[in-house]
């Protein structure tokens, strides 16, 4: 890694240590204060163009930020990802592009919806009504709707929190469209946007892998059972060492020359297992939020459930065969 990237990595890590209290974020959400701090550091608008007060960083720098933040708070990393990798490309070249200034400065909350279908929403003279269930991101002024089309919807919305298992910092909630919301733009961009997200998503996954694993390594270095440190038991330290190898190879691949398809595949295929085992290594303590490790397991499966399914595997296979495949 280049010197300037190392400096960035250290700066972000220091920022996280100082400002991100992950337990608080899990229970209270990402406060306005944190959002403002992220904006003032230039993390919030990492890739957004300078003319909209963004930092206009290159991919590597952006991914370093995501990785470092995800080690501590996957929720905060996901918030940055939504703005930079989903919102920015969705509004680019549309009339909504000017809202990027608000996005980069922390004045705009964006939610993402992958679940609801176009027919969940009714349009009447340009105004929308209906309910969107379990939208990722709370108190939003804008929603990106990834269904048949990629639509940007502008509020105001009604909002109610849901109990949700993953990315608690940004919350999932139901949004009601009450004949006030409007569609700002609608194009079919889902495929291209998600494909361009493989790198950033892998960076978040890598951060989560790293965060969970470090907790397990730290814990098994100090906790004793049967008079020995947990690390003294081969099944524990062998497994954690093996996961560290995966983490290390993944990092080299992400910041090196590897094909993003393969990096993303490796990240998604390892994240749940590593997070799960990190919980395991903590015994009963791992099952409680207080130890800060179970959240990685929750967030890992949610990430995999949202971003990595049959469609992504089909794309990967077609990428390998370099042709369209007629799957049976």
């Amino acid at each position: 890694m280049k010197e300037e990237n190392n400096i960035l990595k250290e700066t972000v890590a220091e920022f996280c240590d100082k400002n991100l209290d992950e337990k608080k974020i899990e229970s209270e959400g990402i406060t306005h204060g944190i959002t403002e701090l992220l904006a003032s550091q230039g993390f919030l608008g990492a890739t957004i163009p300078g003319k909209y007060s963004g930092s206009e960083l290159d991919n590597t720098s952006y991914e370093i930020i995501l990785e470092e933040i995800a080690k501590n708070s996957p929720s905060v990393a996901m918030k940055i990802f939504i703005l930079n990798s989903l919102y920015y490309p969705s509004v680019k070249g549309t009339s909504a592009e000017t809202t990027l200034s608000d996005a980069a400065s922390g004045k705009l909350n964006v939610a993402v919806d992958f679940i609801n279908r176009a027919n969940d929403i009714k349009e009447n003279a340009g105004k929308l009504s209906g309910t969107l269930i379990n939208v990722l991101g709370s108190d939003a002024e804008k929603i990106i709707l990834f269904n048949e089309n990629t639509s940007i919807i502008s509020g105001p919305f009604g909002y109610s929190d849901r109990d949700f298992m993953g990315f608690r910092g940004i919350k999932f909630g139901d949004i009601t469209l009450d004949n006030t919301a409007t569609v700002l733009d609608s194009k079919n961009r889902k495929g291209e946007i998600l494909e361009a997200s493989y790198g950033p998503l892998s960076a978040i996954a890598l951060g989560m892998i790293s965060g969970a694993l470090q907790k397990a390594i730290d814990y098994t270095s100090v906790r004793k059972a049967f008079g020995n440190y947990l690390k003294d038991f081969e099944p524990i330290s062998f497994r954690l060492a093996q996961f560290r190898s995966t983490e290390s190879v993944l990092r080299s691949a992400l910041y090196g020359e590897a094909d993003p398809y393969y990096v993303f595949n490796l990240a998604m295929e390892s994240i749940v297992e590593i997070a799960r085992y990190s919980v395991n290594a903590h015994g009963g303590y791992g099952y409680f939020q207080d130890f800060g490790v179970e959240k990685f397991y929750r967030d890992a499966i949610v990430m995999k459930s949202i971003f990595y399914g049959n469609q992504e595997l089909r794309k990967l296979a077609e990428h390998v065969y370099s042709e369209k495949i007629n799957f049976v």
Binding site: F114, I115, I133, N134, R162, D163, F164, M165, G166, F172, K224, A225, F226, G227, F233, P235, I236, V272, R276, V279, N280, G283, G284, G286, Y287, F288, Q289, D290, E294, Y297, R298, I301, V302, K304, S305, I306, Y308, G309, N310, L313, F327, V328
Partner: protein
């Protein structure tokens, strides 16, 4: 195996489907509270029959299939009862009858802040002074800890050079002076169950609070685990079948036909069938009073992995749909199976020991 209980099984399933509504399961999961009304209702309807372990096993499976949080909450007030049933004195057995009737809630406290896997390494003491035992120490992650009326507690009664020899079990009234319970919150799953950290501060115990013989506590608890691990395997089986139920309906409702999904479905189904066979097989030895700890540990370890595998598969296969369905609750509940009543690693140590001992 156990087909003779099919009618009973159907009755339990009906109860669970009627009473464990999605609203109720979600509510207790969110509030992280114990559903005491449901416990009382299950008793009044004869859902739990602690006199018949086969029925207990089947009830656990069927209840957890619908919702493990509520299912375990309903079946856990009797946790530890087998220790009293097998080794307790008349007074303790009278208390046990009241537990069965629903008057009291019971729990079992072995794990301590400094360790749960190494049972013989525990630090809580109950040293004899005159005709009393004085209980001191703390326990961790005790199910029912803050709602129980009585607890079966494992404590050290002598500094025997063999750590397994100096332990004894006691029946402790939670109203005793010096008892303190602190409810632990923010669990990943099984949030309708109560979990607590306990402190024992010079609690005076009478001689008739001792369960069985002094110095035999470790062996009583290991014997108890032979039974309770079957029940955990049944919890796991129920959770896994519940996950499979969700996968099946998702596949059918969405007319999914791709082979990747079919293969995953078939893998989950195969794991479940293996878990069922292993659990029922280990149970049939146990219920004939010929327990085979290695078979029990195999069922518990393999079953818990199956629960986790099935739950993760449901999350992944339903994709974004899993997020607002009860599937995410199944996922959070499943993980405890690999932790309580002996982690998978501890089960593997038991299994290896028995394999080496065998012919």
């Amino acid at each position: 195996m156990f087909e003779e209980y099919d009618e009973y099984r159907n009755k339990i399933r009906e109860f669970a489907l009627k009473e464990f509504t999605e609203e109720m399961a979600a509510e207790y999961d969110r509030k992280e509270e114990y559903p005491d009304e449901l416990r009382k209702k299950s008793l009044s309807l004869g859902i739990i029959d602690m006199q018949n372990p086969a029925k207990v096993m089947i009830a656990i499976e069927e209840l957890c299939r619908v919702d493990a949080g509520l299912g375990i909450a309903v079946t856990t007030p009797y946790f530890g009862s087998e220790v009293i049933m097998l080794f307790g004195n008349d007074r303790q057995k009278e208390i046990l009858q009241d537990v069965y009737k629903g008057k009291y809630i019971l729990g079992l406290a072995v794990t301590e802040p400094s360790g749960g896997s190494d049972v013989a390494g525990l630090k809580t003491t109950a040293m004899k002074q005159g005709n009393k035992y004085i209980l001191n120490g703390s326990k961790m992650f005790i199910t029912n800890g803050a709602i129980a009326d009585y607890l079966v507690v494992l404590a050290r009664t002598s500094e025997d050079p063999n750590p397994h020899h100096g332990l004894s079990t006691f029946l402790v009234n939670t109203k005793s002076k010096g008892f303190n319970a602190n409810k632990l919150v923010d669990k990943l799953g099984v949030r309708a169950t109560n979990t607590a950290e306990l402190q024992f501060n010079n609690i005076e115990l009478n001689e008739d609070d001792l369960i069985g013989e002094e110095g035999k506590g470790f062996y009583y608890i290991m014997m108890f685990f032979n039974i309770s691990r079957i029940y955990v395997a049944a919890q796991s089986l129920g959770i896994a079948i519940g996950a499979l139920d969700r996968i099946k309906s998702y596949i059918k409702e969405n007319d999914i036909k791709d082979e990747d999904s079919m293969f995953r479905l078939s893998d989950v189904g195969t794991h479940i069938e293996a878990t069922r066979q292993m659990t029922y097989n280990a149970a049939s030895y146990l219920f004939e009073f010929k327990p085979k700890p290695e078979l029990t540990s195999m069922a518990k370890a393999y079953g818990s992995e199956t629960a986790v595998y099935a739950a993760e598969s449901a999350m992944e296969m339903l994709g974004d749909k899993s997020l607002y369905e009860d599937v995410q609750r199944i996922f959070r509940n499943a993980k405890i199976m690999e932790i309580w009543e002996g982690t998978s690693e501890i089960e593997k140590l038991v299994i290896a020991r028995y394999i080496l001992k065998g012919e």
